[in-house]
Symmetry: C2
């Protein structure tokens, strides 16, 4: 019984902890290809080019947009983010699973193009919790935090377009659930090549 490559998309409001969950997931699971996004946002301390993101300038980004090199791209809080198309499609074609960790705008674009993907909404336990989290990570200005919280309420409404909701109350709980979703989806009849 062989299997098709499955596209997994982890997404959710800004600051919910998508990157942390992805990182912790990859410590327990190495049988999935992780797409690295391109971005025009400057690197945060500790972020590595080619690992966390491909850091490129706006001109290069727009050139790639024109060349249709992105599966999805979005402008999130004045920075551009994009998912390299070739990487994703080639791995899926070869029967490998691919993981994207992207914002909600991007996820909804991917869903239109690849509705057979598995869309996981990472949710904060509450808006209050998200506020605390954004303050604690200390990467954002007060203004930016307020802008993100306002957006979050609206973003939570996009949840209904996803297949799964995982509440990120504690990273290890969220990772257990995302890990289970990957294992389960690989057993789904619709993802198997029967006969």
């Amino acid at each position: 019984m062989t299997r098709k490559g499955i596209l997994f998309v982890i997404s959710g409001p800004s600051g919910v902890g998508k990157g942390t969950v992805r990182e912790a997931l990859l410590k327990v699971r190495d049988d999935i290809e992780v797409s690295v996004s391109a971005t025009t946002r400057p690197p945060r301390p500790g972020e590595i080019d080619g690992v966390d993101y491909f850091f490129i300038d706006r001109e290069t980004f727009m050139k790639r947009v024109k060349e249709n090199q992105f599966l999805e791209w979005a402008n999130v809080y004045s920075n551009y983010y994009g998912t390299p198309r070739e990487f994703v499609l080639n791995h899926l074609k070869n029967g490998r699973d691919v993981l994207l960790e992207i914002d909600i705008q991007g996820a909804l674009q991917v869903k239109q193009k690849m509705p057979e993907g598995v869309f996981i909404f990472l949710s904060p336990p509450s808006i209050e919790d998200l506020a605390k989290r954004l303050c604690q990570r200390g990467k954002d200005s007060q203004e930016s935090i307020e802008e993100r919280l306002a957006a979050c309420t609206q973003e939570m409404e996009q949840m209904i377009y996803y297949d799964y909701v995982v509440v990120n109350d504690q990273v290890e709980n969220a990772v257990t659930k995302v890990n289970a979703i990957i294992t389960a989806e690989r057993c789904r009849i619709k993802n198997l090549e029967l006969g």
Copy 2:
């Protein structure tokens, strides 16, 4: 975010190891209500009335059939098996998940009545493996084994009506997968009460 009770049905060809997987699963998971079937088959050594099955005579069984007390019932290799309806419906109504471990005939009956259930097909790695398994468990006559193997080929075709396929190559692998399916289904949007 509350959740609806989910009905999980583990099913598969006779001899594939459904009972063993169920038992091992319950050692790692106690947050699910396990339905105990009624049967007219005599207890095998070690089986306990009310735990493995409710062992009842044919007359009592048929009386319950007439009273519509079974969610499904089937005649499998000259013995009757049935799932008590009240137990299942009451727990689901109260938001509890329920696990059924039943034969393929029964599972397809349940699917017609409750298509929103989660149907897991437990498959042998191969027909040869199933033959070995049936011989090793020493519970069946040579004639019974041949009958079961002939049926298995046909039963494997019913797989397409299920949501998931779990290959029972090793009990611990199968349990990990069924366990993941339960965790994942609890995160599915369609099983959550949003808003």
